[in-house]
């Protein structure tokens, strides 16, 4: 018996909802996207042999280039505070007052900051160049409490950077941090080697 088969129709899927969803997905992932290129890091190691020993044991023949950092006027208003940098007790530099970082400062202040950093770099470099055996030279960043503890993290990183620019990769952080009442824990901490 002949059955009349309905004519094959041109069936078309409705694409609209799918496209809607796909665009939503695109927007979601786009908003998640973060450009990571500004995010960099400096690797460093805490000294394994020494750990938390209060008095670092070091062979006496190590030559140290020592950068001491203090926060001056740290008990006053933020606008009065500045970081003082001493290199081997022979050179002294003052970082600009109430430095907030490049993005938040006018151009002349940025230049002032850069100029100071350049001077510090020059001093460290000359000291480094004066050393006959570079493998015996250690950099040291000292932040003596309590004034050292108030130095902004950014300034310490910049000092570490000065050492790294010079080529000195063996850097130790010194500075007793005594956050705890416990006498044992209040004992000074060692530091990190960059």
């Amino acid at each position: 018996m002949a059955v009349q088969v309905p004519k094959a129709e041109d069936t078309e899927m409705n694409m609209t909802p799918m496209i809607d969803i796909v665009f939503q997905l695109i927007i979601f992932f786009m908003l998640q996207l973060k450009f990571k290129e500004i995010d960099r890091q400096i690797d460093s190691n805490l000294p394994k042999d020494r750990g938390l020993a209060a008095t670092p044991t070091q062979p006496p023949d190590f030559q140290k280039i020592k950068i001491k950092v203090f926060r001056r006027e740290f008990d006053k208003a933020e606008t009065e505070q500045y970081t003082l940098v001493k290199i081997d007790n022979t050179h002294e530099f003052q970082l600009p007052k109430a430095w907030k970082g490049y993005n938040d400062e006018p151009k002349d202040r940025q230049n002032e900051y850069d100029a100071t950093i350049a001077k510090i770099e020059a001093v460290v470099k000359s000291k480094w160049n004066a050393q006959p055996d570079k493998s015996l030279v250690k950099g040291e960043i000292v932040a003596p409490p309590p004034k050292g503890g108030f130095v902004p993290h950014g300034d310490i990183m910049r000092m570490l950077d000065v050492f790294l620019v010079t080529g000195l990769t063996d850097v130790v952080f010194e500075g007793a941090a005594a956050p705890l009442t416990n006498a044992e824990r209040a004992a000074a901490m060692g530091g990190g080697e960059g």
């Binding site: 695109i26 890091q41 490049y102 850069d114 932040a143 503890g149 993290h153 950077d161």
Partner: protein
């Protein structure tokens, strides 16, 4: 003037296929570039350094522990917050001890999952990334380092988040750096 013979109006249909192809490609692109670990970072103003290097370690099995430090001295790890800036030494001590416990738990978690966390010499393989605000007082960073190097944790590998100064010359870039 004779009337021009206009073509019959047809039902115009756009061919959707190329657009959908491209759209799917875009979705795949954004899916692959998305990095969920950045979710652990707090938006802090990072310190500037010319010698910072890009992290090339994409090995997810050895993900580092990320410690955020805000300018005011508040530490945040995986949404848990510890205020180190308390003046009261007892409260301060408690915050530091909590931090220590948390870090220890992280290491133990890894070890329980069957991962070789420790080197033969006893040092922890997993680094700690200190993602600190540049205005944070250095003493807080020192405490974090102190906690990491505690004999019960033994994390000696540290990383500091930095970014490049905006006016940096390319010549100052680290030799091997990107």
């Amino acid at each position: 003037m004779s009337r021009r013979n206009l073509p019959e109006t047809e039902e115009v249909k756009m061919n959707m296929t190329p657009m959908i192809d491209m759209t799917f490609l875009l979705v795949v692109f954004f899916m692959l570039t998305i990095d969920l670990t950045t979710k652990e970072f707090l938006p802090v103003s990072l310190p500037f350094a010319t010698q910072g290097e890009e992290n090339k370690d994409r090995d997810p099995d050895h993900k580092r522990f990320i410690i955020n430090l805000e300018a005011g001295g508040v530490v945040e790890i995986r949404k848990q917050r510890y205020d180190l800036s308390k003046e009261n030494p007892v409260e301060q001590d408690r915050a530091v001890q909590d931090l220590k416990r948390l870090l220890k738990n992280f290491v133990e978690e890894r070890r329980a999952a069957g991962e070789e966390v420790y080197e033969p010499d006893g040092a922890c393989k997993v680094p700690v990334l200190i993602h600190a605000d540049r205005a944070a007082h250095w003493k807080y960073v020192q405490w974090i380092m102190q906690v990491a190097a505690d004999p019960s944790i033994k994390i000696y590998r540290l990383q500091f988040s930095v970014k490049r100064p905006p006016n940096m010359k390319e010549a100052d870039a680290p030799a091997g750096g990107a």
